[in-house]
């Protein structure tokens, strides 16, 4: 397929958004259109896989507003993988949203679906970005388009947390990321993602570590502590949005950008030949452990999941930092695996909320007997988070572990082990509570399962979570390509 087709990946969701805007009056038509768009997009994305598999790197320049600063798209394995995950999960998420939004009679549903579609378009843009500038452009577009989603409820509390969300993401991106990009541009004369990096020999010494810091904390979406605050704040959003944030688009966009910058801008070898860049490893490890510990003390289900996400993201960064081919594969695998697991968990949480309006952990006691399917899915998701076979989580953790072992990076090893234990410590009690504990007094248990649309979505993601354990060859193949490109 010719590179000229790349912009389609952005246009399809935008057209979908337009269609949704026009069909706002007729809910069925509207949701039909959103679903259709999702499927069309996914089909388009997957149709690219063979092209990429044979090692092509399609690239197209849309416009060049400033000399050396082009808005250009290109598709390389990593982006391909990300695009596939996002577009595919969007279908499921759409099905789920239909059930959820109707189940809870939310307001402004048209606005919701429009922003959703725009957000996906932005995500595609991030996946296809050919240079830092384009990346930044769509990164901001994603932030702005998700703001209305987070603030969806529109009551004072929601707006307050939405403000935190927007504030942190915009402040970090404008305040740190943009200067970092300009610095890169001034130093290297280009911002294009190139295998092996563009900064080698352009900057040196402490500057490297500083620039890296600007990038890492500038990309607030990667939620490396201390710029993680927006993620728990965004918990006020409706569940499909949380799913979008945690699994489909936003945080993934964050770690994806970080990975891309590390391997394509700095160039992995160059970066970690620089002592001043080593801090990143420890920052990641710290985030993993700290976030897991915080998660231990959460009493609200979604907040707990949020902190677990923060921890899981830093896994990815950790893996990239460890930087053996194997670990890099682990990182990309984990992007996928975590996506499947976390979306399952969120869907489950949403299902519980829809069915019983329960949000606190203690309320979940004995809920397993009421909503067996949901809780089954939840359990599988939890296991995947911990990394127990046969779930997706195991695969990625395995690769990371191996990578860390090869490079003899014992800090990373210790972190992974510790956090696995921690994961178990905060997930298993919930499972136990849900299945075995007796229902506490004063909590009504007279509710059944969630609406069917939700259950379908839930089932799909659960299936993915398990299926990924057995059928991960395509992803591995992509990883292989990626790693070869790097070497």
């Amino acid at each position: 397929m010719s590179a000229a087709m790349l912009p389609l990946l952005l246009l399809v969701p935008l057209l979908g958004a337009l269609g949704i805007a026009c069909s706002g009056r007729w809910p069925n038509l509207r949701e039909g259109i959103s679903l259709l768009t999702a499927i069309a997009l996914a089909a388009l994305v997957f149709s690219w896989v063979p092209t990429i598999m044979v090692g092509e790197l399609p690239r197209i320049v849309l416009t060049e507003p400033l000399p050396g600063i082009a808005i250009a798209l290109s598709l390389e394995p990593l982006g391909m993988l990300f695009a596939c995950i996002a577009s595919f999960l969007w279908i499921i998420n759409t099905i789920y949203s239909i059930g959820y939004m109707r189940g809870n009679e939310e307001k402004h549903q048209t606005r919701f679906y429009i922003c959703f579609a725009v957000a996906i378009s932005a995500t595609m843009g991030i996946a296809l970005a050919d240079n830092l500038f384009t990346l930044f452009l769509f990164y901001e577009m994603l932030t702005l388009s998700t703001y209305p989603l987070v603030a969806h409820k529109g009551n004072a509390a929601t707006i307050a947390s939405a403000r935190v969300y927007l504030g942190i993401l915009l402040a970090t991106s404008i305040g740190l990321l943009l200067p970092a990009i300009i610095w890169t541009w001034l130093a290297a004369g280009t911002t294009q993602f190139t295998a092996g990096g563009i900064l080698e020999g352009k900057v040196g010494g402490a500057a490297v570590g500083f620039l890296l810091g600007l990038f890492i904390f500038g990309i607030g979406k990667a939620a490396v502590m201390p710029v993680h605050r927006w993620l728990p704040a965004a918990m006020v959003a409706p569940t499909p949005v949380s799913a979008l944030l945690h699994a489909v688009a936003v945080v993934k966009a964050g770690v994806f950008s970080v990975t891309k910058i590390i391997i394509y801008i700095f160039g992995a070898d160059f970066l970690f030949s620089q002592p001043s860049a080593q801090w990143l490893l420890y920052a990641a490890c710290f985030t993993v452990v700290a976030a897991s510990v915080v998660a231990l003390y959460q009493t609200n289900l979604k907040r707990m999941l949020a902190y677990s996400t923060i921890a899981q993201l830093s896994y990815v960064i950790l893996a990239v930092v460890v930087l053996t081919p194997m670990a890099t594969k682990g990182a990309t695998l984990h992007i996928a695996a975590h996506a499947f697991g976390k979306i399952t968990l969120f869907f489950a949480a949403g299902a519980i909320y829809t069915a019983s309006h329960k949000t606190e952990l203690w309320q979940l006691a004995g809920i397993g007997r009421r909503m067996p399917l949901t809780m089954a899915a939840f359990t599988i998701g939890a296991l995947s988070m911990i990394g127990v076979p046969p779930t997706a989580g195991f695969i990625s953790k395995w690769f990371m572990f191996g990578g860390a072992f090869d490079s003899g990076n014992y800090v990373a090893l210790a972190t992974i082990v510790a956090s696995t234990a921690l994961n178990a410590m905060y997930f298993l009690p919930v499972v136990y509570l849900a299945w075995l504990a007796p229902a506490p007094e004063g909590v009504d248990m007279d509710h059944g399962e969630a609406p069917v649309a939700i259950l379908i979505a839930l089932g799909l993601t659960t299936a993915l979570t398990i299926g990924f354990f057995f059928f991960n060859q395509p992803v591995l193949a992509l990883d292989q390509l990626l790693v070869e490109n790097l070497r």
Binding site: T63, P65, L66, I69, I71, F133, F136, L137, E140, M141, L144, P148, A151, G154, I159, R163, L166, L170, A171, I174, G175, L178, P179, I182, W183, W185, L186
Partner: protein, 496 residues
């Protein structure tokens, strides 16, 4: 006769000569319509001029056929063309969009006078933009100022009057300071023509009077351009002027003062005045910085949309002066580009503000709560323009901010500090605009105006056209870039 070669003169003559005819009309609509047509045609003229400049380079026109410095000459280069586009474009936009709003602000029988003044203001500003003669600049500065006073005084709120009086006083001081400076230069060089001055100044490098002259001219024009801390006239004038007038002024009036400021300092003084560049930098940059930060900070705490935007204008003027103060090629590029882009963004914002005020009847934030849900289209356009003002990539504002930051980075060791300041002020812009946007979308509409409706379709289209321009010039900034490059080259002619 070939009209093409007379473009510079016609650019001024057309609006100027339409004005006396307009004031003779009796009906408001006719007056508006003829003013609009005249403005439209002069916009066409400036487009023609721009094309001519891009193809044939700088144009020079000898008025009365007298060779400068004996006669008055007009000089049109990329920079002038850029400013001309701003002036005529803004005026056309404001007239087209502001018809209803103006009809409400100015009663029908006084309207002819008002539109006459409007055209004279346009002509005066154009006259400054094409002038090649220092005293001629003074004359046309006064024409445009007087006309602008009238436009501002037409505001319905009585505070418009006290605001305009302050404006008159400060404006006249500024103009007179400028005149004093010109007088000193004339005394030492015996000429009034910019180019000729530059030549003859080389003989007497920095004699005292010239240094003083530079000071007077810079301060006088800084007063007119509302460079912090000489901005005191601007917020009230912008706030209490009729909304359409604010659209027009915000887009171009201060820009023109900055234009002539840069003209003078670069083409005449730099290079001819020992150490003038350093002096200029040392004088301008601190003011610009404090202006940027303080004005943005003040803007965050205003309770009135137009005031917010006015203070943000002061901050943006700070950006332009900062860039101009760097006395480097990149800096000048940034300054010129930012003039253009800020005009786009601010014009769009004030246009939306006009629409809001037109429906909600007040620009107080409390009255505008929830307006975003009532007027989704206008509000969306507002958001786009706001992003351009903040400098989100993909919008026009980003281009100039990029140039600005790059210019600052390569300035000297202080670069990073300045970048920090710029970034901080951009974040402040996020705050003060976000504040309004948030309460426009999620705020509870006040009791009175629950059933507000969108403004008329044509106005909406106009607003959206402006918004799309903001995006268009963000993705394809070739035109302003070309003009800015040309203008910069000419300005720097004086520097090296």
């Amino acid at each position: 006769m070939n009209l093409a070669e007379h473009l510079p003169a016609l650019q001024v003559a057309l609006p100027l000569l339409t004005a006396p005819l307009v004031i003779l009309l009796r009906a408001g609509f006719l007056a508006w319509f003829s003013a609009f047509l005249a403005s439209l045609f002069s916009f066409a003229l400036s487009v023609q001029l721009t094309i001519a400049v891009l193809q044939g380079g700088t144009l020079e026109y000898w008025i009365g056929g007298w060779e400068p410095p004996y006669g008055i000459s007009m000089v049109v280069d990329g920079f002038s063309a850029l400013v001309l586009l701003l002036i005529t474009g803004a005026s056309t936009l404001a007239l087209a969009g502001g018809r209803l709003s103006l009809r409400r602000d100015i009663d029908n029988r006084r309207a002819p006078m008002f539109y006459g003044a409007w055209l004279i203001a346009v002509a005066g500003l154009c006259g400054i933009a094409v002038a090649g003669d220092a005293f001629n600049v003074f004359v046309f500065m006064e024409i445009s100022s007087l006309a602008t006073y009238i436009l501002v005084a037409a505001g319905r709120d009585r505070r418009a009057l006290s605001a305009v009086f302050k404006y008159i006083m400060i404006g006249t001081i500024g103009a007179t300071f400028y005149l004093i400076g010109v007088g000193f230069i004339y005394m030492m060089t015996g000429t009034l023509n910019f180019a000729d001055m530059a030549v003859r100044l080389e003989d007497d490098m920095d004699t005292r009077p010239i240094v003083i002259a530079a000071g007077f001219i810079t301060i006088g024009l800084a007063l007119k351009a509302a460079i912090f801390p000489l901005h005191i006239w601007l917020p009230r004038a912008y706030t209490y002027a009729p909304d359409a007038v604010t659209v027009f002024m915000a887009a171009c009036s201060t820009k023109v003062a900055l234009y002539i400021l840069m003209r003078f300092n670069y083409e005449v003084f730099h290079g001819n005045l020992l150490g003038h560049s350093e002096l200029f930098t040392a004088f301008v940059i601190p003011l610009a910085l404090t202006g940027i930060l303080v004005a943005s900070a003040i803007a965050m705490f205003q309770g009135n949309l137009k005031k917010v935007l006015a203070f943000s204008s002061i901050a943006q003027i700070g950006y332009i002066t900062l860039a101009a103060g760097l006395t480097s090629e990149a800096g000048l590029m940034a300054a010129l580009l930012h003039m253009f882009n800020h005009a786009l963004a601010k014009g769009g914002l004030f246009l939306c503000a006009m629409a809001f005020v037109f429906t909600a009847g007040s620009s107080a934030l409390s009255q505008l709560q929830g307006i975003g849900r009532r007027m989704p289209w206008t509000m969306a356009a507002f958001v786009v323009a706001a992003m351009s003002l903040i400098g989100v990539p993909g919008t026009a504002g980003f281009i100039s901010k990029w140039y600005l930051i790059v210019a600052v980075m390569e300035w000297n060791t202080w670069g990073p500090a300045l970048v920090a300041a710029i970034v901080i002020s951009s974040l402040m812009a996020v705050v003060y605009l976000g504040r309004f946007i948030e309460l426009a979308y999620f705020g509870e509409p006040p009791a009175g105006n629950a059933g507000l409706l969108e403004v008329s379709i044509p106005l909406r289209c106009l607003i959206w056209a402006t918004a799309l321009l903001n995006i268009g010039f963000g993705l394809f900034p070739q035109l302003p870039l070309a003009l800015a490059t040309d203008g910069t080259a000419r300005l720097l002619g004086g520097l090296y």
